[in-house]
């Protein structure tokens, strides 16, 4: 009995003796050759898609979400053409055999856990609510796909375009008299952009004041047409082409003659929802374009007030 214990102990010591050098060897080996960059990337979230398509060539992408090809919500719809589209459920993603899956905090937790249980590496891209959020989202994706250099370049270009937009806005603010024009972004279902979110940031950087937060909107951020008329904004912003959704009932506020009158008598610009729904590098280009248009309008503005209206006499 004592002999077997001694032998067992000897065996343990021998194994331990071997174990330490072995693990050290393994660790060294892993550090020497890091995990290869993922070549079959599947993205099941629109915001992750848009950043991914700017950072990585199409050969490394196995599939993107079906929303990426929809130009009303995606700013990279052109680049997504020709790519496989997925709806993001477990079966579908498994089919592509990805070595990396990009999702977001808004992807249902059950789906993320399901994908992880199936053995896939899932990275959650944070949702960007402001400019710093966009930068951190780009960094997260760049780290995940191992395209750090390209990510840094993208952030640098993003910052440069934003700086240009700010310069245009400041210059026009100094040149034109009066305070910044008051703007309201009015959308389908009477939604007006509030004080959170990228739309507000975009408007502020482009040299406009968002007049909606001070108006006290109703539930869900809806602004009744009466209040919009009462507020009398200087600039109207739209988040899509006015007839983009056709004759659906919830777009009735955009077809209303009173709103059409507002659009005719005030400068109206489009700030596409495709660039403000998700925080992407394309937002900077959109802000710069908007700042440019606002500055031009302010420079060429004549101080003539709109003619007074008689009831039922305005052209429809």
């Amino acid at each position: 009995m004592r002999l077997s214990i001694r032998r067992a102990r000897a065996r343990c010591v021998a194994m331990l003796g071997l174990a330490v050098p072995l693990t050290t060897l393994c660790a060294v080996a892993q550090a020497a050759s890091p995990a290869p960059p993922p070549t079959r990337i599947v993205s099941i979230n629109l915001c992750a898609d848009q950043i991914l398509l700017e950072l990585v060539d199409a050969e490394r992408i196995a599939a993107v979400s079906h929303l990426a090809a929809d130009p009303t919500v995606s700013a990279v719809a052109n680049q997504a053409r020709g790519l496989t589209l997925t709806r993001g459920d477990g079966e579908d993603v498994l089919r592509y055999g990805p070595d990396l899956v990009l999702a977001s905090a808004f992807t249902p937790r059950a789906r993320v856990d399901h994908l992880r249980r199936l053995g896939m590496k899932v990275i959650l891209v944070p949702h960007a609510r402001d400019i710093e959020g966009i930068r951190s989202a780009i960094r997260v994706v760049a780290d995940a796909v191992q395209a750090r250099a390209r990510g840094d370049h993208l952030i640098a270009r993003f910052d440069a375009t934003l700086a240009r937009a700010r310069k245009i806005a400041t210059r026009s603010g100094r040149a034109a008299a009066g305070s910044k024009p008051r703007a309201i972004l009015y959308s389908v279902n009477a939604l007006a952009a509030g004080s959170y979110g990228l739309t507000h940031t975009a408007m502020t950087i482009a040299g406009l004041t968002n007049a909606a937060p001070s108006l006290g909107r109703g539930p869900g951020g809806r602004l009744p047409l009466e209040r919009l008329l009462q507020a009398n904004p200087d600039v109207i912003l739209l988040s899509h082409a006015v007839d983009a959704y056709g004759a659906i009932a919830v777009a009735a506020n955009l077809r209303h003659p009173a709103f059409r009158w507002l659009m005719r008598t005030r400068p109206t610009f489009v700030l596409r929802q495709a660039v403000t729904l998700c925080g992407t590098p394309k937002l900077a280009d959109a802000i710069a374009a908007l700042a440019d248009k606002v500055a031009r309008r302010r420079a060429g503005q004549s101080e003539q007030p709109a003619p007074p209206l008689q009831p039922l006499q305005w052209a429809r």
Partner: protein, 203 residues
């Protein structure tokens, strides 16, 4: 021979006293006034002159006119159906007509017909309602009693509601859920004088 009291005082509708008429008329007038005076921007007409004109003539007036017209139409059709079916619960929704009209309108929008000419949407609704009537009559048969008609109507309205939900779900419209609520419940928000001219003549 004794005269009944009702014979001495002829009324418009037997069974409804003059007092009820007065109360109802007063309620209607109060409702109209309130609807014209109160809106999303509060009591009265705030804002500058152009905003006031716009708010009153283009938002509150069409809304009030439509409410009165639609209320009258619903009441009349309800009363007519109740008389015909001899059932105090009857109304166009029960018979499947409103469900058919909603389905017709939603199809007109989703198939793109509503963008072709202005009256396409109301025509879609009226066609849907007409088809619903034909289906109900076919289901109930030529010598149907009131109960059979109501049962057929319930069947048609359930199927129409399900088909409306299906069409909206399959459409590319991101606002499908909100749109569905609109067609099921109705709304007078954002109505303009165009809608009054569209809805008035048929009513």
């Amino acid at each position: 021979m004794r005269h009944h009291r009702s014979a001495a005082k002829p009324t418009l509708t037997p069974g409804v006293s003059r007092k009820t008429w007065v109360i109802l008329a007063a309620t209607l007038l109060t409702g109209i006034t309130l609807s014209l005076m109160v809106g999303a921007s509060g009591f009265g007409l705030p804002g500058d002159a152009t905003a006031r004109v716009l708010i009153f003539y283009e938002i509150r007036l069409p809304r009030t006119a439509l409410a009165v017209l639609i209320g009258a139409a619903l009441a009349t059709s309800g009363a007519a159906l109740q008389g015909y079916l001899r059932n105090p619960l009857a109304e166009p929704g029960l018979i499947g007509i409103t469900g058919g009209a909603a389905l017709g309108a939603v199809l007109a929008i989703q198939l793109g017909l509503a963008s072709t000419f202005a009256l396409a949407l109301p025509f879609g609704g009226l066609t849907g309602a007409a088809v619903a009537v034909v289906v109900v009559m076919t289901l109930a048969g030529t010598r149907a009693g009131a109960l059979t008609l109501i049962l057929a109507g319930i069947a048609v309205s359930t199927v129409a509601a399900a088909l409306t939900a299906l069409v909206l779900n399959l459409s590319a419209n991101p606002f499908a859920a909100v749109e569905m609520v609109f067609w099921m419940m109705g709304s007078l928000a954002n109505r303009s004088t165009t809608h009054v001219w569209l809805a008035g003549p048929p009513i």
